[in-house]
Symmetry: C2
Subunit: 364 residues, 2 copies
Amino acid sequence: MSNPSLLILAGDGIGPEVMDEVKRIINWFGDKRDLTFDVSEDLVGGAAYDAHGVPLHDDTMAKAQEVDAVLLGAVGGPKYDDLDFSVKPERGLLRLRKEMDLFANLRPAQCFDALADFSSLKRDIVAGLDIMIVRELTSGVYFGEPRGIHMEDNMRVGVNTQRYTEAEIERAARAAFELARKRSNKLCSMEKANVMESGILWRDVVNEVHQADYADVELSHMYADNGAMQLVRAPKQFDVILTDNLFGDILSDCAAMLTGSLGMLPSASLGLPMANGRPKAMYEPVHGSAPDIAGQGKANPIACILSFAMALRYSFDEGAEADRLEAAIEKVLADGARTGDLMGPEGGTPLSTTQMGDVIIEAL
Amino acid sequence: MSNPSLLILAGDGIGPEVMDEVKRIINWFGDKRDLTFDVSEDLVGGAAYDAHGVPLHDDTMAKAQEVDAVLLGAVGGPKYDDLDFSVKPERGLLRLRKEMDLFANLRPAQCFDALADFSSLKRDIVAGLDIMIVRELTSGVYFGEPRGIHMEDNMRVGVNTQRYTEAEIERAARAAFELARKRSNKLCSMEKANVMESGILWRDVVNEVHQADYADVELSHMYADNGAMQLVRAPKQFDVILTDNLFGDILSDCAAMLTGSLGMLPSASLGLPMANGRPKAMYEPVHGSAPDIAGQGKANPIACILSFAMALRYSFDEGAEADRLEAAIEKVLADGARTGDLMGPEGGTPLSTTQMGDVIIEAL
Ligand SMILES: CC(C)[C@H](C(=O)O)[C@@H](O)C(=O)O
Ligand SMILES: CC(C)[C@H](C(=O)O)[C@@H](O)C(=O)O
């Protein structure tokens, strides 16, 4: 059997730096654990625009469709702010999500014990926090038609369409229920069914899937505005949260920030199974391209490395190896290893991106 | 000249209880400050549905259009959860907003010094917090057409439309710039212009209004997901925030919860000037109908009383009287007056709704 394949799209800003550390980790697994990947690399976002005039080349798209998993760094930067909407770095990312049909975006918001004091929230509110947000990623207002800016009575009008079919809601819901079963068996679904009919359909379909196949999972519903409140007030009341593309964008960022260490948070975007049984998949850190510190060796590579751990778990069924990698990271943090973003007011000398990679590989 | 007129719509749950205290405050201003209002009362939400089968009777709507200001308590409750979308309590509230054309929803998120410890955030992150969120309230995905649930290829599809005209964005932006000028002269506008064309138009129009008439105000833009993060991370970086109806719903609730005392937060919804120069206006607390404690005399009336203070300021040009009322509330809090929602872990006996009204009137 041939090696599993990975396509690395490091992207913009700190993407390439943090991905360099992931590559070292991948090599370590090849050398030491006999887990060898066929790795290829390509461009996405601003980097692709600079080379090809588009934020994702068709050839790259085709490669992404063929590999077992894509690892993405980050896209965007001020250099590209004035580009036309259709070629902005983000469009490359959105095209990958859409064409690979990665409907289930898994965003853990986990508070590492060693880092609980970095949160703007009180320690007891966030210590031990471990939420999984499942965000629908291929539909809703991100992709709905009609969309655009047009003239009406001599005035510009901006339109986007929130649109969900029951099939789209159902498959996202199933992904969330499955995850809930592997965790605390508790799912909270969030929408605005009090204001939006698409939210009513969302709630109805989630209830139907629940009754049909997941009655053992404890299901609740919450309006998304209340969800934002409750995340801030008492986030530990949640285990798995299911929500749509736009609410998921905002709520998962809110949840991520509760942990106080954005540089630590990975994500997985999963689609349908391929012929080999593995799901279509892309893994990326939750943080952005951080142009302000790009190229300085200051970035925290952990979120990107943990994204590779998610790949081990969800794409390659190597849960034990993912555990090993996560344990190494917890160990170095407990031992006091810190990049600049994790420095407390007491100061000290932060590790560089590469040094953080070094200590993680050592711990492995 | 006749007295200014108020329509009180106490609504559901704790609405009537907290509104009773507001009525006593209104009477106090009549007795002691020669500020007499013509007060009428009517039904909204579930209460209106129970009486008339609709969450807002046409006669009530007509009255609301005629008075100088509406004071609203809260709508909704589990009793009405299974009602058809078109007659849910919320529809009464949304009809008032839409038909009165209350496009500028002002939601202060203020952290009272005496209460800073109630926040789930660390004291130094929130103490002294004073943000004003201006939420567009009459357009966007709340009201855009087409909307609804229809069948397509034997499958249900839920649709809502996010739609903004440049005139709608412009008037909300002007309201926000005007407010910014009266505060720290700083405005941050939030949308998802990286994903939604309606967000691009939003950003463009805000920039145009800025350049044309408010170049003295410091303007910044932020994606709404980052906005949610920044609110959690370092809320004091903001002064006035401008955003659309749906983002405003979520971000203002998130901001409100930062303060830790939802029972304290008022809101104003303002429209165009009427013939007498006063804006169309409705004032309501940010909290909901809290069915779990309704009818028990436990509710905190302060948010509703502060909403009346906003009415004094924005509808009746009685800023000094609004200051007086707000100062009385700060005083009783500093003196230790607490309703149940404001009790710390150390316990003690909370004041009832009426007792809180008593001490505020005494302080006045
Ligand atoms: C970069 C942007 C298009 C993207 C989104 O809005 O989905 C990002 O915020 C995210 O959450 O992955
Ligand atoms: C009750 C509901 C319709 C309303 C909204 O979504 O606007 C509420 O959440 C609010 O923020 O005033």
